[in-house]
Subunit: 354 residues, 2 copies
């Protein structure tokens, strides 16, 4: 074996995930005990504990730890693992609030938080309100996980600049997404802008940066990581959009018709709408966003995506961006083990089926 | 004039408010310019700007600055004013999300954020979703306002411990409030627990502590401030509950029947329910929480609050707590100007009509 593969093996994705999950579990256990001791409601810690236990890719915390390795971090990684857990706690906030906005009933194959709480209290508005508060608490607690009195002040300041940017970008991205129904269906630039803020920066770039600054990354390295992260993040979301129409519910954990029933303005749909015949245009306008859309209607939409060439175009966009990310990675001055790990992540992100 | 009154004059409430508001305005202006430059939606900065412009007491930021003075802070107060602005930004988050949960249509005499956005986009769910996101951004930005690379690390750590506690307490307090309909109407202890977390700690104690730790307050001083803050905070909320039933809408800025129509479980109502005759009990159960409650119904409830003695009891509770707060203040080792200012705040908090 070459030293490269030895180094590669040293970044064990499953081990990172296990340590991040342990940090989250320990944090929530302590919060749970504290709530019990002070007669506070345990709904919040229980709901968050169940949310993490239900699965998820843990992509963002993994990227956070890889960013640290990419910037030459080594030795005691306790601090970066805790920051990675903070990033995942923030993600729980995002998803819990997103599910309210999207009126989603399931996530990871289970009822969403607002639906579970509505069921528990037999009251829709209380369910939504409880989920707003549980999401709020996840946001507050993600910040609590970020603080470390032992960290050098300039590192803490650099980390906070990254996290401040990340939070703002994803909330703006979600706001743009919310307002997408007011933009023309054909506007693929608007759809790409949502992708950039809601996914590329939030899911890939900022978690990498968060880990990297903890290992003292300079602006050049951060820029090199961005050149990898942004095309990869776009490719990741474009794959998500494809899976939202063609994925297998038993693999993705969400009903395959959700995106179509919601009428989500994706790049895929925008490209199809641009190239649709008047009859196809009429069909898209009639079927997209219909909450009662059935498999037959979905099949008609898929035919339009196919015959307009939109699906192929998006696959091409994914391939191009994947290649850009890999090229950028070759040029980035990272330790071989980190580079190899980021290559694996890139491949998984674009070739996944869930 | 004695030196005490000279010192007292040196803490000018209106000037503190003006500087806090200027900090908030400047922060939002910079965010607005940044959003425009990056083609991000300006709804968020505009909505928050209008929210602050619509009024509010600025009690929490004022207490933050007074906490700093109470701990001997003097000279350059730029840092504490910025922290006070962060506390007010956090409060905007709380109110925007609370108004969604309470389904309130007006605040400070204007449409609430979710109602204004629902009106703008002619869509209730989009209005609520936009308000969730605008609240989320206020929470994220409040944290951004807290960070200061120039602050000594141990001060920053102490500040974060206070803010972490504050955020958690008020979210738990709101959660308890949300679940109040599932507790018996007569349970005044449950109502008092909501008051402690949602108001006493959040509105008075933690803002004071936040300012005090910036001036290096030790645990003894923080405990002394708590002995002033907690009874005062309870008195403040008990006054709020009275105003919610007896206040003048043109002064309070909210419809006087809201609390009764919502069926809010206040200490006032709990005490009345405990001492009600079966007929009065029946009346309370029938009228409280009726969204169509009219002035005649409200007058019937007020008669029950009067004849059961509940109103008098609550006034007595306010008086007792006000006295406790003032006694604690006399025993606290604070500079005379800070003590005098905290006395004024206490009097205003319990004797106000809005």
């Amino acid at each position: 074996m070459t030293s490269l593969s030895v180094h590669t093996q040293s970044i064990d994705f499953a081990a990172v995930r296990a340590r991040v999950d342990k940090t989250l579990d320990d944090f929530l256990d302590a919060k749970h005990d504290d709530a019990t001791a002070r007669s506070m409601p345990v709904d919040v810690t229980e709901a968050l504990g169940e949310f993490f236990a239900s699965g998820g890719k843990r992509l963002r915390p993994l990227l956070c730890v890889l960013g640290w390795h990419a910037a030459g971090g080594h030795g005691d990684d306790e601090e970066v693992v805790r920051t990675a857990a903070a990033v995942e706690m923030f993600h729980a906030f995002c998803l819990i609030h997103d599910d309210i906005m999207d009126s989603s009933s399931t996530r990871r194959g289970r009822p969403t938080v607002h639906c579970a709480m509505a069921h528990r209290y037999d009251h829709d508005h209380i369910g939504t309100s409880a989920a707003i508060l549980i999401g709020d608490m996840a946001l507050a607690w993600s910040d609590e996980l970020l603080n470390s009195p032992h960290r050098a002040p300039h590192r803490q300041a650099a980390l906070h600049r990254v996290i401040d940017a990340m939070r703002q970008e994803v909330i703006y991205g979600q706001y743009l997404d919310l307002m997408a129904p007011f933009t023309p269906l054909t506007d693929h630039r608007a759809a790409l802008q949502v992708i950039r803020f809601k996914t590329a920066k939030y899911t890939i770039e900022r978690p990498l940066h968060a880990g990297a600054v903890l290992a003292g990354a300079d602006p050049e390295l951060l820029a090199a990581l961005s050149r990898y992260a942004l095309p990869l993040g776009e490719a990741f979301q474009l794959r998500d959009d494809i899976l939202g129409v063609y994925g297998q519910p038993q693999e993705t954990g969400k009903p395959v018709l959700d995106d179509l029933r919601e009428g989500k303005h994706t790049v895929l749909i925008a490209l199809a709408a641009q190239q649709a015949t008047p009859a196809q245009h009429h069909l898209l306008h009639n079927l997209l966003g219909d909450p009662a859309l059935d498999e037959d209607g979905a099949a008609q939409i898929r035919r339009v995506l196919q015959t307009t060439g939109a699906r192929d175009q998006v696959e091409h966009m994914i391939t191009t961006r994947y290649a850009q990310a890999l090229t950028a990675l070759q040029d980035a001055p990272c330790p071989p083990a980190a580079t190899a790990a980021l290559q694996r992540i890139a491949t998984q992100a674009v070739q996944r089926t869930s």
